[in-house]
């Protein structure tokens, strides 16, 4: 077996936001890593902190967000306290992100061509490429994401494109930079399923060719299963379960993961479960113990007061749940 090298490692990351003088503790001790040339998924429902995690990895949290603790290691170096020029370098060549909302991620008053050029100029600055060469890369990336007429797209402004096209332009800008790590935030949400399938296949093929490491966050378990080899289930800012994708989906252990799987409508057509009662907790005063406890059908007193720690059940599959730990 070849040696594992983690190209990116997130350790004990906690992030909070301050909204109207109230502090909300969104992420709590998030841990995960991605190996070189592998793909990792983070699944969770809206408001669980997926996007915050991604932004933290690039150190571009909104101005009211703060990293409370933890580190994010890129090739062993913590990017959270990197000097500015190194951080710039990391963003240019290390990791790049596909933003979730295609309608706000592109500058409305700058042509797609110039947005490509500006981004690629810095991403490829060591190679001293000419403008024409950069545009060639842009055109190639656009073709990769199944946009048929790159010239027309390049000379357009974002408002002239449909939502699906904009999203693919965002993907193409990020891919054309040819960074080591791709952070994909809901890369298919705005796309039709047949187009989404093409994009997912593309990302998967890039990973399989060993060119790319991917961290993908999405609410869709299916997308994760199609692309990634390892998965982390996120609930209310904590990762509750993780491991090999097929294994986790095949034998979910955390009550949240199980409930999520049951709620999902399946092609086999055996109905849909009742759903999970309650709502995601208020981050300004999150539950003291397990964050899922208030909605959990198997809750015990211990869950309400004590925070569960990851418990491995074999084959790299682990979960943070007392039920699994106690073997109930």
């Amino acid at each position: 077996m070849e040696e594992k090298t983690n190209v990116l490692e997130v350790r004990d990351l906690s992030v909070s936001y301050t909204v109207a003088n109230v502090k909300t503790h969104v992420l709590e001790n998030v841990n995960f890593s991605v190996e070189k040339g592998k793909s990792v998924g983070i699944v969770g429902e809206s408001g669980c902190g997926k996007t915050t995690t991604m932004r933290a990895i690039l150190n571009v949290l909104p101005s009211n967000g703060t990293v409370e603790s933890g580190e994010i290691l890129y090739n062993g170096e913590n990017i959270l306290n990197m000097p500015n020029n190194k951080l710039q370098d990391y963003r240019q060549k290390g990791a790049g992100m596909i933003f979730q909302d295609p309608s706000s991620a592109l500058n409305p008053v700058i042509s797609i061509r110039n947005q490509f050029l500006e981004a690629l100029k810095y991403a490829h600055k060591d190679k001293k490429l000419t403008k024409a060469q950069l545009l060639e890369k842009a055109a190639k990336a656009l073709e990769q994401v199944s946009l048929a007429d790159p010239d027309r797209i390049l000379s357009s402004y974002p408002f002239q494109l449909s939502g699906g096209m904009r999203q693919r332009v965002c993907i193409a800008i990020t891919l054309a930079a040819e960074r080591q790590i791709l952070l994909a935030d809901e890369p298919g949400t705005a796309l039709d399923v047949t187009i989404q399938d093409q994009i997912l296949r593309l990302i998967k093929s890039l990973v399989e060719a060993g060119e790319l490491s991917v961290i993908m966050v999405t609410h869709s378990l299916g997308v994760i299963r199609q692309v990634t080899t390892a998965v982390n289930i996120m609930y209310a800012g904590t990762i509750v379960e993780g491991g090999d994708t097929k294994e986790v989906f095949g034998h979910p252990m955390h009550p949240y993961t199980q409930a999520l799987m049951d709620c999902l409508p399946k092609l086999t057509g055996n109905g849909i479960a009742k759903g999970i009662p309650g709502r995601i907790p208020d981050y300004s005063s999150p539950p003291g113990g397990c964050r899922f406890a208030p909605r959990c059908p198997y809750v015990t007193d211990r869950c309400l007061t004590e925070k569960p720690v990851p418990h491995e059940t074999g084959g790299g599959h682990w979960t943070s749940c007392f039920k699994a730990e106690e073997g109930r």
């Binding site: 932004r55 690039l58 571009v60 909104p62 101005s63 710039q88 370098d89 990391y90 963003r91 240019q92 060549k93 790049g96 992100m97 933003f99 909302d101 706000s104 991620a105 592109l106 500058n107 409305p108 008053v109 700058i110 042509s111 947005q115 500006e118 981004a119 810095y122 991403a123 402004y157 408002f159 002239q160 965002c170 800008i173 930079a177």
Partner: protein, 340 residues
């Protein structure tokens, strides 16, 4: 849609609006109590003379026909006679317009740069002393009516610290400059008389400042708030996350979308200046169209009032078209939307 097509569309709609304006003006002119012939000729003329005047001015026709006659006259530049100056109104207007145009040009355009500079500085030093100073002055200046500025300037710079040229006029009588554009500073420079240009500029400075200060701070405020708003947008985070240096992000990605709101209100601001000039010109004795219009209004000189209102409407429409074109160049989205 192409830029040209949008501009043409914009022009067409402006034409409709101007036509509507002439109707309003005409209605205003006709609701003046009393017999228009009598008003024009005075109390001591015979019925015969009045009748002749009515005949000559189509006052016996139906109102819509009168409007048509008035409009065709106006289109040819014939607004009738002024009751105050006893000259053709159009002549008065051509005499007085350049002074107002010069004043509004100076008050309207150079301060935009100041506004942008202050807005950007304020945003980049958010909650530091520069920002607080800008915002404090902004609140005070925006709250000050233009005529109060004018009065204060006269008091402070006219009497207390007499840096202002003797009150009134556009140029000290000792200078004679060629009449080329009607804009004195420019004419003086074209005529190779820097001293005269400086003198004309000093005459201009305080009226222009009185007109500009409030609007400039308003524009600065808008620039500041749109800079700050946009700085947290995804598209800025996206380029930052791509490793584009902060200075480049600010210059190439943040500035352009942020100045657009400012640019779009400039048209409105300049229009308001044409209005406020009515008072400023009066207080500073500036021999312009607005001062002429003000005299006409106070003396119920209907022909002159209508002409001045129409001319100012035209000037405003042209300015806002110009501003819209600039906005369309800056913001491709505007080319699609129908403007105003």
């Amino acid at each position: 849609m192409s830029l040209l097509k949008s501009i043409l569309k914009r022009l067409a709609s402006a034409l409709v609006v101007l036509l509507g304006l002439t109707i309003i003006i005409f209605v205003l002119m006709r609701i003046v109590p009393g017999d228009p012939a009598r008003l024009a000729l005075g109390a001591n003329v015979t019925e015969d003379v009045l009748e002749k005047y009515r005949e000559a001015n189509h006052l016996n026709e139906s109102l819509p026909m009168q409007y048509v006659y008035w409009l065709t006259g106006a289109l040819r530049g014939d607004f009738g006679m002024s009751a105050v100056t006893k000259r053709a109104v159009i002549q008065d207007i051509t005499d007085f317009a350049p002074a107002t145009i010069e004043l509004v040009l100076w008050a309207g355009f150079p301060p935009i740069l100041a506004a942008l500079f202050l807005g950007v500085t304020s945003a980049q030093h958010k909650n530091k002393w520069q920002d607080y100073l800008c915002r404090f002055l902004g609140y005070i200046f925006v709250a000050t009516p233009t005529f109060v500025f004018a009065v204060l300037f006269v008091l402070v710079f006219g009497y207390w610290l007499p840096v202002m040229p003797t009150i009134g006029g556009r140029l000290s009588p000792s200078f004679v400059i060629p009449d080329i554009t009607g804009l004195y500073v420019l004419d003086a420079l074209l005529g190779g008389q820097p001293a005269a240009a400086w003198d004309a500029f000093l005459h201009l400075l305080f009226p222009a400042l009185a007109l500009a200060l409030g609007k400039t701070m308003q524009e600065a405020r808008i620039t500041r708030s749109s800079m700050l708003q946009n700085a947290d947008k995804d598209y800025i985070t996206m380029v930052t996350s791509q490793g584009v240096p902060q200075s480049v992000v600010n210059r190439k990605f943040l500035l352009k979308p942020s100045v657009i709101p400012t640019v779009t209100i400039i048209g409105m601001d300049i229009a308001t200046m044409f209005g406020n000039a009515f008072l400023v010109e009066r207080i500073f004795n500036w021999p312009g169209l607005s001062s002429y219009g003000m005299t006409a209004i106070l003396n119920k000189d209907t022909n002159a009032v209508c002409a001045v209102v129409l001319i100012i409407g035209l000037a405003f429409t042209l300015t806002s078209i110009a501003v819209d074109i600039v906005a369309m160049i800056l913001d491709p989205r505007m080319r699609q939307k129908r403007t105003r």
